[in-house]
């Protein structure tokens, strides 16, 4: 069971009461900068990128310090080595030749990042992904806390066996929906490992998690002519845990009285000198479906 749905109910109930919220200024202690690896790549034949940066002070959205002189390689268990080259601001990219992919399902991959001082490494496995059967649209008039209009859902069936984990990404007119509430992840067909909902069609909150979330934290209806693109990325179980925990930290109980303690989100990158490195390395298989709203 996802706690997110429960938070929605609580949030709604509380907002309907007397609560109020405003932005304030707080002096925060600043942490020492730490290395961050953002290495979520996939086996599509498109440009892949890995980003090496440092943490920023919490309220600082501008000064991003980057690692610009590293050697970045991904090595597959099939023996393929791919070099990522620095293109600026800590972004390292690899552009495959036409039709070239980084590897196939079942292969294992090692990430090696070598700087003058330290080596950072990680490994993961490329896991399978189910096909998307369809994206469907529906005009809804009696939608719960949302405007009347066209809403979409995708249909796909979780793969056989427990422990398949996915990240469903949506693009609306080519724009990636990247708000924290739009983060749509699945453990088998459901949201949590304990539930053991295997090999069924993804449950409705996941299917419908491809609708844009507006400024009021409510789903936004689609317009005729807009395009929707849904991608299912296979991710490792640890990557699922990482994203699920990150989302809980970012949403923070939707700022109600039901927030959990803020905790750190452990990644899967290790350093040769034992210092803590943040971030994640995952290689995904991707299935894609697209539709134009009619």
């Amino acid at each position: 069971m996802t706690t997110r749905n429960i938070y929605f109910i609580f949030a709604f109930a509380l907002l309907s009461l007397m609560a109020c919220q405003d932005v304030i200024t707080v002096d925060l202690e600043q942490g020492e900068p730490q290395v961050v690896v953002d290495a979520w790549i996939n086996n599509l034949s498109t440009e892949q990128s890995i980003i090496l940066q440092y943490t920023q002070p919490y309220f600082d959205s501008t000064s991003l310090a980057a690692i610009e002189d590293a050697t970045v390689q991904v090595i597959s268990s099939a023996g393929k080595t791919v070099d990522f080259t620095h293109t600026g601001q800590g972004v390292y990219t690899w552009t495959p030749a036409t039709g070239e992919i980084i590897g196939d399902i079942g292969e294992e991959f090692d990430l090696m990042i070598i700087t003058n001082e330290t080596t950072y490494s990680s490994s993961t496995e490329l896991r399978p992904v189910p096909v998307i059967d369809s994206i469907q649209q529906e005009f809804r008039t009696d939608e719960f806390i949302a405007e009347d209009g066209i809403y979409t859902q995708f249909f796909s069936r979780d793969l056989v066996g427990l422990g398949d984990t996915y990240w469903i990404k949506t693009y609306k007119d080519g724009v990636y929906l990247n708000k924290p509430l739009e983060l749509n992840i699945a453990y088998d067909a459901s949201r949590a490992p304990g539930a053991e909902v295997d090999n069924v069609i993804f449950i409705p909150p996941i299917r419908e998690g491809i609708n844009e979330i507006g400024d009021e934290n409510l789903p936004v209806a689609w317009e005729v002519g807009q395009s929707v693109r849904v991608e299912i990325h296979s991710i490792s179980n640890d990557a699922y845990t990482f994203l699920a925990l990150a989302q809980r930290q970012i949403l923070n109980g939707l700022n109600t009285i039901f927030a959990e303690p803020l905790v750190n989100t452990d990644g899967n990158i290790e350093s040769s000198d034992g210092t803590e490195v943040l971030g994640f390395f995952n290689v995904a298989a991707v299935s894609i479906s697209e539709k134009v709203i009619e």
Partner: protein, 789 residues
């Protein structure tokens, strides 16, 4: 431990040697106006200087040598009654006491003997009578028991709107909340804004924060003992009220005069009714209400036997059309039989049933839906005996057995017509206890209450016991093996011996020092990792993986009354150590998780503080001021790098003042002021990006490392009450109150969050700090209450 045994044995032997040829004076103490028994009223024997308080059922018993005596019956707010009698046989003397005419206005603080604060051995307890609670200014004019006790020293809350209360640094599940002896597992309506107790049905509220007598057990930090009215045994009485939140109505009347009476009290909120015309169409079929029904009846079979039957049923409902629904509530029932074996041996046997459950549903059609429910149910028998051994010894002994059934989650999901059952199986447990305690006057000045409680908990089948391997501190522990058990087959059992001890030494007629020690054990735990507990939090038993929580508390106090008991000063220092408390790994999944126990951590806690309270009990102006200086901390391997950290409800300073003033015969004024140090919460020291998400990070991994601003608030209330007279059977009361008078936006917490706007990939994401104030304005209210007799 051995010493305590020896001490107990010696004391018992001593008490027997004191026995001599005596007669017994005993009886019930009652309120003459409605026949309600009086709890904690005193009978004082002038000739011998001995006094005794009436017990929870209004019964007292005292043995005296043959002779003539002057007995003074005393209860604050009532006229003192003096009886002279010749005692040459065992004598039954029931006394009906008259309310002091000057105090008809109900502005009464504490209904007890005037010097009880100083003379009783009991410490770390607070008694609030319902008239006091009703006189306090309140949120939206709703008389509120749980919010009222938060004005007492040593009682705090994590914030406005949070469910439950914290006593001396304990978490909310460490309070045993009893309604006529049946436990209430969630004492709140509407999260934490209102409590489940209907003030019209409550007679007496007593909170034990320390020096907990051996007859109580099962929770670490406190006992909140709420006793319901029996119902007017003289004549029909109807009480009711109309407020912003609730409408209330209660009816009480004799069934057979002086033999049997009843009370039925109901409340219902009507936010939804009032709001319905203003809601948009899509909300038109939404539901938001809560209600409760409290009933009690009693029957006096004979002079020696009385029966009581009490029940409570309450529910909170949230519904959003067909799409989603959520409801929760408690139901309890208790049956009690008071029996007098002799004038010296009083007994009570309680049978109770208590249940807390909730249901959640999503989905408006049969092919896509999700239904979830969970509950905790328990059944118990609790025989207790009070033996009025001699004037120097009051012996209590008894036991309790509780059978628990935990339903941690019954859930069924249907996706496109395919159903998956994701329920967790029920868990069963049996808790038993035996206790003995004695209250003994050693000398005129020294009084002791000592006792022992032996508790036993058996986690049983039917079920599966999981064994987990080791993992680095703070990580999920891997499943190693599991074993299945048949119904009632023991999986894991625990025994604990809980010594309890309090002492009072009278320094002068108006002052005393007291000391107490108690060990308490808690076998059931509320699994909750949010700032405020949610109604969906699930109770779990101690198992082979979860050990019982154990606490030791010592307290030392100085008590002094001034000016003929007009002023009462209580000062206490305490230190409490808590072991085997339940904590959670980062990212623990607390719901519908078969392997939850592998995600729990074991920690310890400590709480210490100084509580001061000055009370004025008599006159036109009454009230109290309390100040608490306290700390509460936790240490858990795997959290905050294993270092001690302040708990989320740690409040260094907590000052509260409550004032009542009778302006005229009809007009009353009251005020509350509170000042509380801001509670600690978590802040990130830095942030980083992953695929466009901005993840907060704390370099030091420190828990509760920033304090939110201090909390302070003033509430005022003025009430007008019509005169009570035999001709005027209808008595109305208007209450005007303002909560949060100077409109302070007291923060519940500070949150750190990324901005809500859409940011193009690669562009910087804004992060801000938000202050959440649960009540951001002053809240005026008017309510009308009435009484018809």
């Amino acid at each position: 431990m051995k010493r305590i045994f020896q001490l107990t044995t010696i004391c018992f032997l001593l008490s027997y040697s004191l026995n001599a040829q005596e007669y017994i004076l005993s009886g019930y103490l009652k309120d003459a106006s409605n026949g309600e028994t009086l709890i904690g009223a005193t009978a004082f024997v002038t000739e011998t200087g001995q006094g005794i308080s009436s017990n929870e059922y209004g019964f007292y018993s005292i043995s005296l040598e043959k002779g003539s005596y002057t007995i003074v019956y005393d209860y604050l707010g009532f006229e003192t009654q003096v009886l002279t009698l010749e005692l040459n046989e065992n004598t039954r003397q029931d006394v009906e006491m008259q309310i002091e005419s000057a105090l008809l206005s109900e502005v009464v603080v504490l209904g007890e003997a005037e010097d009880r604060n100083v003379t009783e051995v009991e410490m770390s307890t607070n008694k609030l009578d319902i008239a006091t609670i009703k006189s306090m200014p309140s949120l939206l004019g709703e008389v509120e028991i749980i919010r009222s006790i938060q004005l007492l020293p040593g009682v705090t809350s994590v914030g406005e709107g949070a469910s439950g209360f914290n006593v001396r640094g304990g978490s909310i599940d460490q309070n045993l909340v009893l309604l006529d002896e049946a436990p209430i597992f969630n004492s709140s309506h509407l999260f934490g804004f209102f409590s489940v107790f209907n003030p019209d049905a409550v007679k007496d509220v007593k909170l034990y924060k320390g020096g907990i007598p051996a007859r109580y057990g099962g929770r670490l930090s406190s006992i909140l003992d709420v006793r319901m009215k029996e119902g007017n045994s003289k004549k029909l009485e109807v009480n009711g009220g109309v407020g912003f939140i609730f409408s209330r109505l209660s009816v009480e009347a004799p069934i057979i005069e002086d033999k049997s009476s009843f009370i039925v009290a109901g409340r219902r909120s009507y936010i939804d009714v009032l709001a319905a015309p203003f809601l948009d169409e899509e909300f038109s079929d939404s539901v938001l209400n809560f209600y409760d029904l409290t009933l009690k009846t009693n029957y006096k079979i004979s002079e020696s036997d009385r029966l009581y039957l009490s029940g409570y049923f309450g529910r909170d409902n949230f519904g959003f059309g067909e799409a989603a629904g959520f409801n929760w509530g408690n139901s309890t029932g208790s049956f009690r039989w008071n029996h007098l074996f002799s004038d010296k041996l009083f007994s009570n046997v309680t049978l109770f049933y208590s249940d807390y459950d909730y249901q959640i549903k999503f989905g408006d059609d049969a092919i896509n839906r999700f239904d979830w429910d969970a509950s905790i149910e328990n059944w118990s028998i609790k025989p207790e005996f009070t033996y009025f051994l001699n004037p120097s010894n009051l012996l209590k002994f008894g036991g309790q057995s509780i059978v628990y059934k935990f339903l941690p989650g019954n859930a069924v999901g249907v996706s496109e017509g395919e159903q998956r059952v994701i329920s967790l199986p029920p868990k069963y447990a049996i808790e038993n206890a035996l206790f003995v305690e004695n209250e003994q006057d050693i000398t005129d000045a020294l009084k002791l209450n000592y006792g022992l409680r032996l508790s036993h908990f058996n986690y049983t089948g039917k079920g599966t016991a999981y064994e987990y391997g080791d993992a680095p501190a703070g990580d999920r522990r891997p499943l190693v093996s599991f074993e299945t058990f048949d119904q009632w087959e023991g999986i894991q059992s625990y025994y604990n011996l809980e010594p309890r001890f309090s002492a009072k030494y009278q320094l002068t007629g108006e002052s005393s020092v007291k000391a107490s020690y108690n060990r308490t054990t808690q076998y059931i735990h509320l699994i909750s990792n949010t700032t405020a507990s949610t109604p969906v939090d699930v109770w779990t038993p101690s198992t082979n993986n979860i050990k019982p929580q154990i606490a030791d508390q010592v307290a030392l106090g100085y008590f002094r009354n001034f000016d003929n008991n007009t002023y009462e000063l209580s000062s206490e220092a305490y230190y409490k150590k808590m072991n085997q408390i339940v904590e959670y790994i980062d990212g623990a999944d607390l719901f519908l998780n078969t392997f939850l126990e592998g995600e729990l951590l074991e920690g310890r806690g400590r709480a210490y503080g100084l509580e001061l309270q000055m009370k004025k009990e008599k006159g036109n102006t009454t009230g109290w001021m309390s100040y608490t200086l306290a700390r509460t901390e936790r240490q858990v391997d795997g959290i905050s790098r294993g270092e001690w950290f302040p708990s989320r409800f740690d409040q260094l300073h907590n000052l509260s003042a409550t004032l009542f003033r009778q302006l005229t015969d009809s007009w009353n004024f009251s005020a509350n002021f509170v000042f509380i140090t801001g509670t600690p919460t978590n802040f990130p020291t830095s942030r980083y990006n992953q695929q466009g998400l901005v993840i907060p990070h704390n370099t030091n991994e420190a828990r509760n490392n920033i304090r939110i601003p201090n909390y302070h608030r003033l509430d005022l209330s003025v009430s007008w009450k019509g005169k009570e007279s035999p001709e005027n059977r209808w008595q109305g009361e208007w209450v005007f109150s303002i909560y949060n008078v100077y409109n302070r936006r007291n923060p519940f917490s500070i949150y750190f969050q990324q901005g809500n706007e859409r940011v193009a990939p690669g562009q910087p994401v804004r992060t801000d700090a938000y202050r959440l104030a649960v009540i951001g304005n002053y809240i005026p209210s008017i309510s009308y209450n009435f009484k018809f007799k």
